[in-house]
């Protein structure tokens, strides 16, 4: 067996997981909100990119931009609908509403795009990089680069900019943020727009790796959930590390044991980590 190949696969997969999860990480960290429609928003992002590429014939970067714009809009609409529940931090309502929203998106996408799988080819996904008997596509390399870039920009934005500070104020104590003059509603709306745009970007990058289906949302949201919780809820670096770790684990487990049981094994690891480190990987020792 080619260990280096498994390592490369794991790194690519890990960055893909991390990139897909980033919107939800911010969502949880900032708004203390969940979005069980995340997977279907991923699906929508993938199909928007595919449609812009194959249907409109747009160049790949422009197709990504279209998908992100639609994603941000969907995020805004979703949050606008849920605003009342968000302001009251009514988590149960939000869970059900986002779950329902996901199914609505799924149904709408199936009506428009049909239920058959599509292949999303980009200029990068059809070209390979080989060294020895190890290979990856340029798309895979781009996933790693984009994921790292998004995490670095996000971390810098949250830590170093005024917008980042206002977002962290709302994350810690939205009520106190109101007294500091912060418009909490618009922060929530902005965070959801970011979630929508980020997951669409992830879909545009990661989507070409596999055939895309309008029914693929649920699998995505499950793996995202593992990454976010494993990383320590709301921790940006934690979810990057968790994504990477999960990717490597999945690649090696799939190669050494069996790909059929990787999701089950990933959850077993998640439970073990949560027992040992209840705050996730990034939790500080207390």
């Amino acid at each position: 067996m080619n260990l280096l190949q498994q390592f490369v696969n794991g790194v690519v997969l890990g960055h893909a997981y991390a990139l897909v999860a980033i919107g939800w990480t911010v969502l949880l960290g900032v708004a203390r909100l969940v979005n069980f429609g995340h997977g279907q928003m991923y699906m929508l992002g993938a199909f928007m990119t595919w449609w812009a590429l194959a249907g409109l014939g747009l160049p790949y970067p422009l197709a990504i931009a279209v998908a992100m714009a639609v994603g941000a809009l969907v995020g805004l609409v979703l949050q606008r609908v849920m605003l009342q529940a968000t302001m009251q931090q009514n988590l149960v309502s939000i869970m059900i509403m986002t779950l329902g929203f996901g199914y609505v998106l799924h149904g709408a996408a199936a009506l428009v795009f049909g239920s058959t799988g599509q292949i999303m080819d980009t200029p990068l996904s059809t070209r390979e990089i080989t060294f020895g008997d190890t290979w990856l596509t340029w798309q895979d390399a781009a996933i790693v680069v984009v994921a790292i870039a998004v995490f670095v920009v996000l971390e810098l934005t949250l830590e170093r900019t005024r917008v980042g500070r206002l977002v962290r104020m709302v994350a810690e104590d939205p009520k106190l943020a109101e007294l500091a003059g912060v418009n909490v509603r618009s922060v929530y709306l902005g965070v959801f727009a970011f979630e929508g745009a980020a997951v669409a970007l992830a879909a545009a990058m990661v989507g070409p790796r596999t055939p895309i289906l309008t029914s693929m949302g649920f699998e995505e949201v499950i793996m995202t959930f593992v990454v976010v919780v494993l990383g320590g809820i709301g921790s940006v670096w934690g979810s990057y590390l968790a994504g990477l770790a999960l990717g490597l684990f999945t690649a090696f487990f799939g190669a050494l044991v069996s790909p059929a049981y990787t999701t089950a094994a990933a959850f077993a690891v998640l439970i073990a980590v949560l027992v040992l480190r209840p705050g996730g990987l990034a939790a500080r020792a207390r």
Partner: protein, 268 residues
Amino acid sequence: MSGARDATAHGAAAGARAGATGSSGRTVLEATGLSVAYGGNTALALERLEVREGEVVGVVGANGAGKSTLVNAIAGWSRGTPRVAGAVRLDGRELSSLPAHLRARAGLLLVPEGKLVFGEMTVDENLTLPGGVHVAPGRRYYDRESVFELFPRLRERRGHLGAQLSGGERQMLGIGRALMLGPRVLMLDEPSIGLAPRLVSTVLRTMRTLASDGLSVLLVEQNVRAAIEVVDRLVLLERGRVVLEGPAAEMRDDPRIAQAYLGTGHET
């Protein structure tokens, strides 16, 4: 609760007000017909409260008298979900329909009781202004540097997290953050809680200094002994109503104030 007693109290309040010699500045903050209810329970029923320019008004009363409820209602803010009715005017402008963050930007600043700083952010980061604040004439907007001049202790601690600060430092930080938004009225809810006596007087004396610059201060205090030293006027709340009101000098000798002083609260 006795109606007769209330009537006497209002009579006394009116008399005291007529004899007031305190600040003669114009009215900055005026709250009228302010009522707050939690569920079916009325927590506050206030006829009228005003704070004039450069005036420090103390609100005192026992636990549960409605002191916090009063300043929260004026700020349009609460951690719970009360029903609030009534009018709040700042420099004659009606603010009742505005959400809390817009009242704050309009110059009505509250430093709340309890959690008043962002614990996971540094002192510097706590002193961050929201976007879209335009500077209005006639208001002083402190920048971070002048907050540090007012509270040198905060400069020393600027890299520390809010959660690492002492109670006194948190008060200073809460006040500093409010000052950056250009307050017309600064409302402090129990700033002395958990502070050493020396710190209490530091914080309260700072209020006096700010007031001499023209800022109006509404100070909620259980520590009447400390409050009465710095306020111009004192308002005594009982069961959500104003039962006594007058210049600090006159209130000092009132038996009802003496009662609150001694902490012999006659209610829950």
